[in-house]
């Protein structure tokens, strides 16, 4: 694996894309995911946010119809529009939280893997401690302490993911740090930062991409579950978990209120998982099972 990432990167990515295209499930994931992301980006252009908040009591709790595709909620708001605008929050929370934990994980993982010693020991023990706290619990405590809003929710769910990224990156660096080509780079006068960025990290880009897609899926679910508990994004702001929490009240008269937001979560996480699986196989065909 080490060698074939060192060959021309341009050709490498073309090759990965060629293999990825052959996997129908990965392509399905990519298409569905793209639709979700495009919908989230252009939500405001499609239907203004004010529609998602507009109450219309006389038509409350209606089932799906031509006018209201996914029906209406307890205040007569259009559920489709709420899910559409909810996608902005749910997806960006998942993506931003993943990116932040990856970023912090990269810094610490690279530093401890590269420098080792006492620093490595201290950081890894802190990571062990963080992993001994159940992720949901830690997120709950952080949101409760800092207050329920989007930024705090993102902080809360990212922290619990940091140890996993630190471990992956540290392990990858330990695997190559003693190899001759790193020594050669040193001899060639490259600095530590340059060596990490250009000689070590490209080796684990594949693993990281796969981890990132899977983590995003997990964090979308975790954010939804926190909002569902009332410790995250709070109603009336639409977020998929918050929509499910509102749906709880009307389970008997209006089950559609829980079906559609749930399907939105399932489809987005499923597409991320399928894409992640496809990428893993495409990046390293030998792992294909």
């Amino acid at each position: 694996m080490k060698d074939n990432f060192q060959v021309k990167r341009h050709g490498k990515f073309k090759e990965v894309w060629r293999r990825l295209k052959k996997s129908k499930t990965a392509m399905f994931g990519l298409v569905v995911l793209s639709i979700f992301i495009l919908a989230a980006i252009f939500a405001e252009l499609l239907i203004p946010y004010s529609v998602a908040l507009k109450q219309n009591i006389p038509i409350r709790l209606q089932g799906p119809s031509a006018e209201h595709w996914f029906g209406t909620d307890g205040y007569g708001r259009d559920l489709f529009v709420r899910i559409l605008h909810g996608s902005r929050r749910s997806l960006s929370i998942g993506l931003i939280a993943t990116a932040s934990s990856l970023f912090v994980g990269l810094i610490f993982g690279a530093a401890v893997g590269y420098y080792g010693g006492a620093f490595d020991n201290v950081v890894m023990r802190i990571m062990d401690t963080l992993s001994a706290i159940p992720a949901t619990l830690m997120a709950l405590a952080i949101v409760a302490a800092l207050g329920s809003n989007m930024v705090n929710l993102i902080i809360a769910i990212s922290i619990a993911r940091i140890p996993a990224f630190v471990r992956i990156i540290r392990a990858a660096i330990l695997g190559v740090v003693d190899l001759e080509y790193i020594e050669a780079a040193h001899a060639g006068g490259a600095g530590d930062f340059r060596i990490i960025m250009t000689h070590i990290l490209p080796n684990i880009v594949g693993t990281l991409i796969v981890q990132t897609t899977m983590t995003t899926a997990q964090l979308i679910m975790r954010a939804a579950s926190l909002s569902f508990l009332g410790l995250g994004i709070l109603p009336p702001e639409p977020e998929w978990g918050a929509l499910l929490s509102e749906a709880r009240e009307f389970m008997r008269p209006a089950p559609h209120l829980m079906v559609f937001p749930g399907l939105a979560i399932v489809l987005s996480t499923l597409s991320l998982n399928l894409l992640g699986d496809g990428l893993r196989d495409a990046l390293d065909p030998r792992l294909k099972s």
Binding site: A135, A141, A144, A145, S225, L244, V266
Partner: protein, 310 residues
């Protein structure tokens, strides 16, 4: 071996101290003081001050942290709940078995479903017996457990009236929570078993077993499965630990009086001692389970056992 166990047990101590430190200081960021929470917002300021003084809340935060740790370690005293004003441990004690029951039931359900189907998928690779479970498991893995719980509650409790939807009166009450929590985990067990099994059945010793004339059944279920289960054990142990504290959402959905639902209510009303107590209990159980998994590893794999006894 004993030396290894002892060493591992010792290593749990700093981890627990770290966990208590992190959670304690996160919870300190919560606005408000305990006496106002206990007495209610509109109460007499003098009474609030007096109660805060009694609870020791006016001491510096580090003093409070160390006295908390001291009380927990030397007196097994987790403090007084702000809500019930009873010792925290009394509130928690009755809930531990409920949470363990849910987590254990979920893991057993997930393994009983996921592992055999996973083995079957691997043995019958590329047939319908492989693709159908694999596709289903992909969907299940993408399902949030609490949503599955809501849907099942709707169908089996509200529509069909077959199963109770909340509380823990009888074993029937455990079915919906365990199945809805367990299906996504079963999917994970299936995927791990399948890929581990696929690797194992291509190994030389499995071919040797076949060559010696062992029946296909013996080869798969006795020879191959034993080795293939190793990675599955790790995942299962980790899941068990996560489930103990992570069933929070499902517990609150089905009104199950476990640790998870206690944590939720306590966090919402800022009952810091109760949250701390639950967290510490969960962290202890989690660490012990991880140790148990490693020991189980040694029991299953003599190579690992040899490494430990050095």
């Amino acid at each position: 071996m004993y030396k290894y166990i002892f060493k591992r047990l010792l290593m749990i101590i700093p981890i627990l101290l770290g966990v208590s430190l992190i959670i304690f200081f996160i919870l300190q960021l919560t606005p408000g003081d305990p006496a106002s929470l206990i007495l209610g917002a509109g109460s007499d300021q003098a009474a609030i001050d007096q109660l805060n003084e009694e609870l020791g809340y006016n001491r510096p935060v580090f003093v409070r942290y160390f006295s908390y740790v001291y009380n927990v370690i030397f007196k097994l005293d987790f403090g007084i709940s702000y809500r019930t004003r009873l010792p925290v441990y009394d509130n928690i004690r009755g809930r531990i078995p409920v949470s363990v029951m849910v987590a254990f039931g979920t893991i057993v359900f997930a393994c009983l479903l996921g592992i055999p189907v996973g083995v079957l998928s691997a043995v019958k690779q590329y047939t319908a017996l492989d693709t159908v479970p694999t596709v289903i498991s992909l969907f299940l893995a993408a399902l949030p457990g609490f949503w599955l719980g809501m849907m099942m509650m709707y169908f089996f409790s509200l529509k069909l009236g077959w199963l109770p939807s909340n509380g823990v009166g009888s074993w029937l009450h455990y079915i919906l929570p365990i199945v809805s929590l367990g299906l996504p985990y079963a999917a994970q067990e299936l995927r791990f078993t399948r890929s581990s099994m696929l690797e194992t059945i291509r190994q030389d010793y499995v071919r040797t077993a076949r060559a010696k004339g062992a029946s296909e059944r013996t080869v798969i279920w006795r020879h191959a499965l034993k080795n293939a289960l190793l990675p599955v054990i790790t995942v299962t142990g980790g899941n068990f630990g996560v489930l103990l504290g992570g069933a929070v959402v499902t517990e609150s959905l089905f009104n199950i009086p476990g640790l998870g639902s206690l944590i939720i209510t306590s966090i919402k009303i800022k009952d810091v001692p109760t949250v701390m107590g639950c967290t510490m209990i969960l962290a202890v159980m989690f660490s012990l389970i991880l140790l148990g998994v490693d020991l189980l590893y040694a029991a299953v794999d003599p190579r690992i056992k040899a490494k430990y006894s050095k």
